[in-house]
Homo-oligomer: 217 residues x 2
Amino acid sequence: MGKSMMNHTGTDCRRQILDASLPLFARKGYAATSVREILDAAGITAPTLYYYFGNKEGLYLNLMQTHCAMIDEALSAYTDDAVGATQRLKNLVDKIFQLVIEDKDFFRLMFADYYGPSESAPYCDYISCHVKFHAAIRKILEEGMRSGEFQPGNAGHMTWMIRGVVQLAMEEQIKEDREKIDRKGLQSILDLILDRLSRPSKADATVHSERKSFQGG
Amino acid sequence: MGKSMMNHTGTDCRRQILDASLPLFARKGYAATSVREILDAAGITAPTLYYYFGNKEGLYLNLMQTHCAMIDEALSAYTDDAVGATQRLKNLVDKIFQLVIEDKDFFRLMFADYYGPSESAPYCDYISCHVKFHAAIRKILEEGMRSGEFQPGNAGHMTWMIRGVVQLAMEEQIKEDREKIDRKGLQSILDLILDRLSRPSKADATVHSERKSFQGG
DNA sequence: GTCTATAAACTGATAGAC
DNA sequence: GTCTATCAGTTTATAGAC
């Protein structure tokens, strides 16, 4: 009694498990999410899960690696033929920010795994994701310097600066409750940075208009 | 047999529990750290822990709130009579960065609680910490603009920019393995930002020297 | 205050039928 | 492939002696 319907679709139990487990993991974390909760949410029984994934750890790794590969691929496939480095950088940041919004649960878990207690979840390698993003930013910055669009300077440090504000925006976006920085907010902040990074003479076509002409102190 | 010595000091079992639990929580997270592990590490038995803290959640909250109050107080007590806004901002960031280094375990847990899965650990309110830091940065930026040391602009956005890079530096510092941004690195990046934020004529006394005189494109 | 001993519930996981 | 039934180990927590 109680359990009235069991799963007999026969085709995509696997998907159901993956789809049901992600939001649970994202809300309670790996350790606090029990196998039974996943089973109930997916509407299947234990042996099915163990048949497909071996154990809880296997499920988690499979889940995270799949999403990680998706992001990885989206970033690799991303090309942009915008004219200026400024615009290309803005487009890239917007792209990754949208990926985050579309896959919040995964990114919350990824950041938790990456920056949180190391032994709270099975080890999963997210380095390729991070490196790809970091390198893409840096590449555009260097191109912009070479072309004279940006002031020359330490591209490595500038990359960390950009990544810092983007990371903070992503983390604030990922939180359930209030959202402190939305897409528009990040764009504004990025405009501010790029405005200060650009050579005055090449003030780009966008409308940020806040730059005051330099006047002696 | 096996357990040869039990605790009979009679005075500071409480401290032992707190001191033993923090690194465990920081390494394995709240959910994956069992009460028994804490007991073994502290060299005491279960009833002692429950006597002082009621339950596991009570221990965690007590631990985190104590450290949170420490940071809170350190930030409130912090004053700086440096002359320029640039220097005051650098000092403030350096101060908080040192607090992080000195209490890595707490900050790793705080960030995990704040940005990670919401139900993976008992709820603890860290907002005062965040707000204090955010407001302190903003205050200095506004003072710098008023005095003409910084270019005028959106102080709110600039605050997020600064906080972004500082947050990223803290998170990278907190990770166990490789450290990507150390104290010197953060200082360099901050110099870069402040250099671009300052009015050209007031180029400050530090040695960053990377600014090129503005030349037409 | 701190211990010994133990309980009740839950955990991840498996054997074996169909 | 998916189920029923069940296990052995671990978990948080407490009763009661000293």
